[in-house]
């Protein structure tokens, strides 16, 4: 009987928040041994669907969930779902930094002897699980000291720990997002291998290439309904088809079109001798209206550049000349950088970018509060400001008083951009600006960045997305494993990937 | 040292001391059969019918303090005066708020219980300014202030002193005049420290063969008293009696003695005579004696005082009814909360007639 029924059936799933229907009558059926993609615009209800499966949300009446043919009681008690073989890799991975890899992998299922944790078996279990997914991580390492990729592997290992070969369903909610290059390849190979043994996989992703290469079928949500269930046996799913299913229309790729800097132009932004924990003596210039990109291999340390440049982290050496301001990056804090017109759109929006418990209006107007008056800020002024920013950036729902926590991930990202563009920066530094956004929103964000440059800002985009850099940058620098910046010959994404790959293999060997 | 204990065992003084103490113990062991005369009030008490008296104890959570109010209420119900109790909760501004409220809600007189004048002097002064007589019961008059019809003090310190002396006498008798006593008292206010000073002096003066060590604590840090007691007992291993000034200190003292491993060599005495204390005496526990004065009688006495003030006089009664409880006399008592809340432990209730007669109500 078990082999005959689908692994997971979610039938007629609806969910209403207040009077807002987020999911209506969604059907999702995943067969044994299947890799299923789940795609959809920001706010289309993907995370909500998963949260119903894990018991965070109670679905509306009339919904049914079955695992291997056996119905689950609703709302789902996660322990029951867990026992039925469902495992989730948490979006932010959910690891405790001060504990060891073995503990993080084995939590929820420690091997015991006489009621006591058998440490030897625990470490062996962790080692075996890690080995099974091909991860080279010591079970005794402290998680806080691992790289992002290793952390993702530990999280995946936890989900697979109790996994009986040939059974179960593993849900990955954008959890491959932090993996790049060979690490990502390895994870994909792993998932394929698992599926071959008969386990099912449900993969939520905004990455078109991932959706095209990995799953056999992609279910696309639009406005809380299943808009397409694209199978691929004959032809590979094309990006255009996914996008059309998501947005109701094809998206044309955004292209800024590179513009050459006038030769006699004195660059407005000049960074010199920038040295941090990884980067050494980095120097670059950005002109008025120019978009510069920086990328590199995952461990090359280019990701600290945005932090160092904006005063968020103290540099060991380096200065930035922005217009007539000269900023000593070893001493300046964020306030000095802001005073010079340097603004950072940080990578981790939930931690560094937005206060989740406050309203959209509060968050979006924050940079401009001081500019208005020291003694009186009217609420209507703030609401007006926020309403404009929301309109300009297409944040949905368009409710200034809604809490940021209630927005979907992509809409939070738009709100974050709206917040910092309102500060009218001289130098706009963006760190992974398109993470977790759908193709439509990505196009909008790239267009906004380009528009900011056209309005006269100098822009620095620090990103691992070659496509983004190719779309919006005038020039791109690649950070080598030694921490040096090298300018690429072209901003074409294939060329960029070649450069990155070169530094990456060089480092690995 | 050795010389001192030599001196302690000197013969003749010791005997006379013990005899005097024994006489005191014997005098206060039986229940009262007759009560002091109360001088009649000058004014006309029947005029006061329908008046309202506010009673403000420092904290109503302490059973004894509430009892004063209940007794006064009982007394005044016989002559048609209303009593309103307002809890000071041990918080100065709650006390001040009570006094304030009494003033604004038209109280005809106010009685406070165990509130130090200094703690709420401003509020009391304002009441007096408004023409409301205030009887500050259970607290001493500050220097230079004497009782007037508007502001009077009915200090129960003499009663407490006598209670302490009774408990001390029980120890003197029990030890045959050679007790090495640890005296434990609170230092929350000048009033209570004063009681402690006098009790220690009494022990030293009347029992030359005894030795006294004193420790003080603040009620708010009662949790540190056990270790303080342990320390004292460790420092002086010859201590064989513990006299606690008030009964809430007894159980911390017992637990301090236990942890210092000294409990077996110690006998305890205390003053206050609450239910727990008498139960312990009855059960042959750690306490050998517990002395107290009738709270009900004291409540009547405070009532008497404020009545006199309301009729233009000053308080004139400072009599009280005391008793020393030991294993010999507790057996016959009704050791229940009801017993504690009544005058029964101290004698019959014929004293009520004495007061009522003096008030012209009978």
């Amino acid at each position: 009987m078990t082999s005959a029924s689908p692994r997971l059936e979610m039938l007629g799933i609806s969910k209403t928040f207040g009077q807002h229907r987020v999911l209506s009558e969604v059907d999702l059926v995943v067969g044994p041994g299947e890799i299923r993609g789940l795609a959809g615009q920001n706010g289309s209800g993907k995370s909500t669907l998963i949260k119903i499966l894990t018991g965070v949300h109670r679905p509306d009446p009339g919904s049914t969930i079955r695992v291997d043919g056996a119905p689950l009681d609703l709302p789902v008690r996660w322990t029951a779902a867990h026992a039925a073989g469902i495992a989730v890799v948490h979006q932010d991975l959910g690891l405790l930094d001060h504990l060891t890899v073995a503990e993080n992998v084995c939590v929820g299922g420690f091997p015991t002897r006489h009621g006591r944790i058998d440490r030897r078996r625990r470490d062996r279990l962790a080692a075996r699980t890690l080995e099974r997914i091909g991860a080279d991580v010591s079970p005794l390492a402290v998680v806080g000291e691992l790289t992002a990729a290793e952390r993702a592997e530990v999280a995946i290992a936890r989900a697979l720990r109790d996994h009986a070969p040939g059974g179960g369903l593993i849900v990955l909610d954008e959890s491959t997002r932090l993996l790049r290059g060979a690490d990502l390849e390895r994870a994909h190979t792993l998932l394929r291998r698992l599926a071959e043994t008969g386990s099912s996989i449900l993969l939520i992703s905004h990455s078109m290439s991932e959706l095209q290469s990995l799953p056999g079928r992609v279910t696309v949500l639009r406005d809380g309904r299943v808009s397409a269930d694209l199978g691929v046996t004959v032809e590979p799913i094309s990006e255009a088809r996914i996008a059309r299913a998501m947005l109701g229309d094809a998206v044309d790729e955004f292209r800024r079109g590179t513009r050459a800097r006038p030769a006699d132009d004195v660059p407005r932004v000049r960074v010199e001798g920038l040295t941090g924990a990884h980067v050494r003596e980095a120097a670059f210039e950005i002109g008025r209206g120019e978009v510069l990109g920086i990328t590199g291999a995952p461990a090359s340390g280019y990701e600290e550049i945005p932090l160092l440049l904006t005063g968020a982290r103290a540099a060991r050496a380096g200065t930035a000349q922005v217009g007539e301001h000269s900023v000593d990056l070893t001493r300046a804090g964020v306030r000095h950088a802001l005073r010079a017109g340097i603004v950072l759109v940080p990578e981790r929006r939930d931690r560094d970018g937005l206060a989740l418990e406050l309203s959209v209006a509060d968050n979006v107007t924050l940079p401009r509060l001081g500019s208005r008056s020291r003694f009186y800020l009217s609420r209507s002024w703030r609401d007006r400001q926020a309403a404009r920013a929301i309109r300009d950036h297409g944040v949905r729902p368009a409710a200034p008083r809604a809490l940021v926590r209630e927005l979907s991930g992509g809409n939070q990202q738009k709100a974050l951009l709206a917040k910092w563009l309102s500060a009218q920066p001289v130098l706009l530094v963006l760190h992974e600006p398109t993470q977790a956004v759908d193709v439509g929103a990505r196009r909008d964000i790239l267009a906004r960045i380009s528009a900011a440059a056209d309005d006269g800002a100098s822009v620095l985009v620090v990103s691992s997305e070659a496509d983004d850099l190719a779309a919006v940058c005038d020039r791109v620098l690649v950070c080598t494993s030694e921490g040096d910046l090298v300018e690429t010959s072209s901003t074409d994404s294939a060329v960029l990937l070649d450069h990155v790959f070169a530094t990456y293999t060089e480092e690995r060997s | 040292g050795a010389g001192e204990s030599e001196a302690r065992r000197e013969g003749s003084t010791e005997q006379s001391t013990v005899d005097a103490a024994r006489a005191m113990v014997e005098k206060y062991t039986p229940a009262a059969t007759s009560y002091p005369e109360i001088t009649p009030i000058d004014g006309d008490v029947t005029d006061l019918e329908g008046k309202k008296v506010w009673f403000v104890p420092i904290g109503a959570a302490v059973p004894g303090l509430r009892l004063f109010g209940e007794a006064m209420d009982d007394a005044f119900s016989r002559i048609g005066i209303d009593v309103q109790i307002c809890d000071g909760k041990f918080v100065p501004n709650a006390i001040a708020a009570c006094l304030e409220q009494a003033g604004t809600s038209g109280a005809d007189a106010v009685v406070t219980a165990y509130v130090d004048y200094g703690l709420v002097s401003t509020a009391i002064d304002r009441l007096v300014d408004e023409g409301i007589p205030v009887l500050v019961a259970g607290a001493a008059a500050p220097e230079g202030v004497s009782n007037s019809p508007m502001l009077a003090f009915d200090d129960t310190a003499p009663d407490q002193d006598l209670s302490e002396q009774l408990a001390a006498s029980a120890i003197i008798v029990d030890s045959d005049g050679t007790g090495n006593v640890l005296y434990i008292g609170p230092n929350d206010s000048p009033n209570v420290s004063g009681v402690g000073d006098r009790a220690v002096t009494y022990l030293e003066d009347t029992c030359p063969g005894c030795a006294v060590t004193r420790i003080e604590y603040a009620t708010a840090s009662l949790d540190k008293l056990p270790s303080q007691v342990s320390a004292a007992l460790i420092k002086d291993p010859s201590i064989d009696y513990v006299l606690t000034q008030v009964d809430p200190a007894t159980s911390p003292a017992v637990s301090g003695a236990q942890s210092a491993g000294a409990i077996d060599r110690l006998k305890f005495a205390t003053a206050g005579a609450d239910l727990a204390g008498l139960q312990d005496v009855e059960a042959g526990g750690h306490l050998i004696a517990d002395a107290g004065y009738s709270l009900v009688y004291a409540g009547w006495r405070f009532g008497d005082g404020i009545l006199r003030m309301m009729t233009g006089g000053t308080p004139a009664t400072d009599s009280s009814v005391l008793r020393l409880f030991t294993t010999d006399n507790v057996q016959a008592l009704d050791l229940t909360p009801e017993g504690y809340a009544s005058h029964d432990w101290y004698g019959d209730d014929s004293f009520e007639d004495g007061f009522l007669e003096a008030w012209g109500a009978q």
Binding site: E357, P367, G370, R374, R405 | Q101, G118, S121, T122, D188
Partner: protein, 339 residues
């Protein structure tokens, strides 16, 4: 501060939140906002029926409104740290210190009353600075530091008082607290004024909004260029200034103070602040809510006293009232968001 953390956490799994259309949400907000005020009104009606002659009198109103100033100032002190995401448990001891210093300096050492008050305020600020040193500069968790300094300041206040209660009577000084304006003592207006200023600053000035961001997420605030350390430090200094002021108002109105009694002010102030999270801006610390919370509790207690209850009934009312009010507000808020 923990309350916010807790809420952040509770909005995790089980709860469901509100992207409900604005109207339903506003209705829900209204209900949960003013539920406590409704209960307060009900309480007043019930008491008025039970005690038609005694409860609805000016004197009762005065007793309710006039007696809570020190507590209100203390609650605002607590609030000042809570909104900035900090936690101060030492404010009651700081108040004790200032309330002890004034009479001791003036009555025992003959210092002019104005100077005594200044010294008391300076000492309070010094206490605040010490908290800042440990919490903000050395980054030790605030709950631990202030629990410790609470005991430390209490000890020092006892040292100053040297086990006696000193009282002062100084007409002009006590008038500062007790002089009546429109039937209310001046001290009532101090509390009210502080409350309004606080509410205004938090809602309508950049400083206030910055404080709220620091409380909601320190990193976000820092990356927005807010001087987080200065705001955190400021919150402690404001707290100790308010506590110092509460001490002065207290001695001015009662005449003397015993420092060992100061810890009894701690929990009621916290209770009022927490109760305030059930009103006006539900789920958030807010001064107006604190104001309502304090006077709601005072009304309940005074009514009970007038009815002749004391002791345990009051404690039950206090605790039960707090738990029920906050729970009802939380549940209503959530229910409305979902339905």
């Amino acid at each position: 501060m923990t309350v916010q953390h807790d809420q952040a956490e509770t909005v995790g799994p089980e709860t469901v939140d509100a992207t409900a259309p604005a109207r339903a949400r506003r209705r829900g907000a209204f209900l949960s906002r003013y539920a406590l005020i409704g209960v307060w009104a009900l309480l007043i009606v019930v008491y008025s029926i039970l005690m038609p002659t005694t409860f609805m009198t000016t004197s009762t109103v005065q007793a309710i409104l006039g007696s809570q100033s020190a507590l209100l100032l203390l609650a605002l002190a607590a609030l000042s740290t809570f909104v900035a995401g900090e936690f101060d448990l030492s404010f009651a001891s700081v108040m004790g210190m200032s309330a002890t210093l004034v009479p001791v300096l003036t009555a025992l050492h003959g210092v002019p009353i104005v100077l005594s008050c200044l010294i008391a305020m300076a000492t309070a600020l010094a206490c605040g600075l010490l908290n800042v040193l440990f919490v903000v500069v050395l980054e030790v968790p605030s709950l631990i530091v202030t629990l410790g300094t609470a005991s430390l300041y209490l000890g020092l206040a006892q040292l100053v008082a040297s086990s006696t209660i000193v009282s002062i009577s100084h007409e002009a000084f006590s008038d500062l607290a007790l002089h009546r304006v429109l039937g209310m003592p001046l001290s009532f207006y101090y509390g009210l004024g502080a409350c309004l200023v606080f509410a205004y600053v938090l809602a309508y000035t950049p400083l206030g909004r910055h404080v709220i961001f620091v409380g909601a997420n320190r990193d976000v605030a820092r990356l927005a260029g807010i001087d987080v350390a200065r705001i955190r430090a400021g919150s402690y200094l404001v707290a100790s200034a308010l506590a110092g002021l509460a001490g002065i108002v207290l001695v001015a109105s009662v005449g003397g103070f015993d420092p060992v009694g100061s810890s009894v002010y701690l929990l009621p102030s916290l209770a009022a602040v927490f109760l305030g999270t059930a009103v006006v801006l539900p789920g958030q610390f807010n001064p107006v809510g604190t104001f309502v919370g304090i006077y709601f509790l005072a009304t309940g207690i005074i009514g009970l006293q007038l009815l002749g209850f004391s002791g345990w009934v009051q404690d039950v009312f206090y605790g039960g009232g707090l738990v029920l009010a906050v729970s009802v507000a939380a549940v209503v808020r959530r229910r409305v968001a979902v339905s």
